[in-house]
Subunit: 422 residues, 2 copies
């Protein structure tokens, strides 16, 4: 049996990730590779570290990608900090809070959770009270919860963590490069980003950054691989009194040595993905973080105006909506997945379902990164209207595009600069 | 500060990985992405599974990549099988045997090791005796040890494992697609490949396959993520009596659900890397496994003939040389890394050093996948000769290329078919 050349349809991808990749990023990936210790490559590694610091708005020394999809970064950071029995507090307001809990539990943490209804977030004061009560070693919290489309305010939580000497670890996979995330100003100790959402780079890397508070914990468990360690390394390790990190691949003390001037071999860096990440970051920094956040808000306004003009109801607490994900309640009597299938089959548009208790109850429309463009917003609105009509839903027709165009034309003068490459 | 466009030098990469990537693979990566549950994408996932079965010469149901660099596959397979206290036997004959040991130890295994001198391999009978003595749950062994350029014969070891009900897990990262690896015929229960070596795909994925013996162990620890599990899942889990796999990202029971028709969301598949892997596998299968193995042997013959004609001595036991990596002893008085630097700076050629006790003692020249081409072999020989002369080494000049050309012209008629895309 022979296999044909790769033939893929072109899609309009309006899910909360993976999203459309900027053509410049796709092109960067077709660059011939370099060896991992080639100075031309290690220079690129350093540039990426520098660009990541800007993305994260931090002066942290350590900022680099973990070679795996987003959750690999979450697991790397958590498992390198957590020792069996450590107290961790996780506020859960959607699927990914459960994931944080599960990862911590697997690594033996004593996890305290607090939950609120899916579609809401926590008052920061409520979280802070719980932090004082539990006095955990780590507070792990999601910033942008894609499963419910909510964004947890965080700016007061980091300071509260420092008061009880807890480390704040944040999953910003769905918000980074699409909404404000101020690592240093918010006193976030460690944070994880994803590539396949607002960065508009393919899935496969998880940029992280962490400060000296976390570095200290990590260094106290530092390990050098036996096959490449020196006598000095082994001497130091013989006096270590902390348990080894369970994972070798996710041992951040090893990743740190690889990303440091020592360049101690761990894995072989995912070359082409690093080229992609570099180009993706370059595009973000060319656009400028503030412009980029404004662009996401602007298109969100047009999208939600269109959806509401169509008579659809948005899901969740409006005050804490994640600007990059819009959750829409599925009208009564409509089979949610049938609508999504028709969107894909007839229009080549992909929107998302949700998970667990929300599956079939809401649709999730992403407006992230390169996918977050006027033509995509207008196309998804027109297509959704047509498909809903086709499914017998009684909605006002012709209103959605007008409402979105109102936003696009009314705010023309305030419209953010276009994406560099579009 | 602004960052320039990605500008990379073109290199001749003759290391044991990462190696040059076939232009067809680079091109495949610039294909616009698809959503992870798009039928067009899940169809590609299934095709890749099918092609991996052919690569591994297996009828196993499960064959898919782990989204991480090679060692992520090693860790995923081992940590999904190993429970704390499990006996594991690791025969060590280089750096990567130490890595297997370390990974097993981190996950709480009771690891029994046997070691031989770097540069040699084990008699299979010696390993089989030890298996009978230790009676481990798992035997974990490297097939192609890149650090020493040796290949461990395995064809009898799998059968011996079955006699004591042990599972045989093999690291074939450096040999797969470059030398014979017969998963079913050799009774290998689980095996890990890498992309960045003889597959000539960038680093970032680790294809694995495993049989029903391993699936049974994995299923006994099967877990569904809380945020997406059904009442049925939770009911089943409540009766489980095995400890959870420590890692979420590497929990193969979850990866399995994602790669199964259930398509249960775990990570977001690394889209562009999967496109790359598909094209890389397609090229391998077009060339044909037997042709490909012959091609690697053929160029190895030319390379080693050239090196010996230059008066250099090869390192290690000749009978068990890994055909894809050639280790050369550094002549006395020569600074090994200075030679490598001059090769890179003056010729744009990269060869490798080795690790631990062999660092500075040997050079390693890879001849893998797309890098394994006549012009590369001839170029590295001519460059190495010139650089050694420049470093004051007294060697016969002008002989190396003649010896290699003897091989290339003498064996012209037996020369394997060229690579599809070259």
């Amino acid at each position: 049996m022979t296999y044909s050349e790769l033939n893929t349809p072109l899609r309009t991808i309006m899910t909360p990730g993976p999203v459309e990749v900027d053509p410049r990023v796709l092109r960067a990936m077709s660059t011939p590779i370099l060896g991992q210790f080639d100075p031309a490559f290690t220079n690129i590694m350093n540039e990426v570290m520098d660009m990541l610091r800007k993305l994260f708005q931090t002066k942290n020394k350590w900022a680099f990608p973990v070679d795996g999809t987003s959750r690999s970064g979450v697991e790397a950071l958590l498992c390198s900090i957590i020792e069996p029995g450590d107290k961790v507090l996780v506020p859960i307001f959607g699927r990914f809070g459960h994931l944080l809990t599960e990862i911590c539990e697997r690594y033996g943490a004593d996890v305290h959770t607090m939950e609120c209804r899916w579609g809401e977030v926590f008052q920061q004061e409520t979280v802070i009270e719980e932090i004082k009560k539990v006095s955990p070693k780590v507070v792990a919290v999601v910033h942008g919860e894609t499963s419910t489309g909510r964004m947890q305010p965080l700016e007061k939580i980091g300071a509260a963590c420092r008061e009880v000497d807890a480390l704040l670890v944040v999953d910003a996979v769905a918000s980074i490069a699409g909404a404000e995330v101020k690592v240093d100003e918010w006193c976030i100790d460690g944070i994880i980003a994803g590539t396949q959402k607002c960065l508009s780079v393919p899935a496969g890397m998880a940029p992280i950054t962490y400060n000296e508070r976390i570095e200290k914990v990590i260094n106290s468990r530092k390990k050098v691989e036996r096959g490449i360690s020196t006598a000095d390394d082994r001497q130091r390790e013989s006096t270590m009194n902390r348990p080894m990190v369970k994972s070798n691949y996710f041992d951040v003390s090893m990743l740190q040595d690889y990303w440091s001037p020592r360049r101690l071999n761990h894995h072989t860096e995912a070359t082409s993905m690093l080229f992609a990440l570099r180009e993706g970051l370059r595009i973000v920094l060319e656009e400028g973080l503030e412009n980029r956040f404004k662009r996401h808000k602007f298109h969100e306004t047009a999208l939600t105006a269109g959806l509401e003009a169509m008579g659809l109801e948005l899901f969740g607490d409006k005050a804490n909506k994640l600007p990059t994900v819009t959750c829409v309640k599925v009208p009564g009597g409509v089979e949610a997945d049938a609508v999504r299938s028709m969107l894909l089959e007839q229009f080549g548009i992909e929107i998302a379902s949700s998970f667990g208790p929300l599956h079939g109850k809401i649709w999730r429309i992403g407006s992230m990164g390169f996918s977050c463009r006027q033509e995509n917003i207008l196309f998804v609105l027109s297509a959704l209207e047509a498909v809903l009509v086709r499914h017998g839903v009684s909605i006002p027709t012709g209103k959605a595009l007008q409402a979105a165009l109102d936003v696009y034309t009314r705010e023309k003068t305030e419209k953010p600069a276009p994406v560099a490459s579009s």
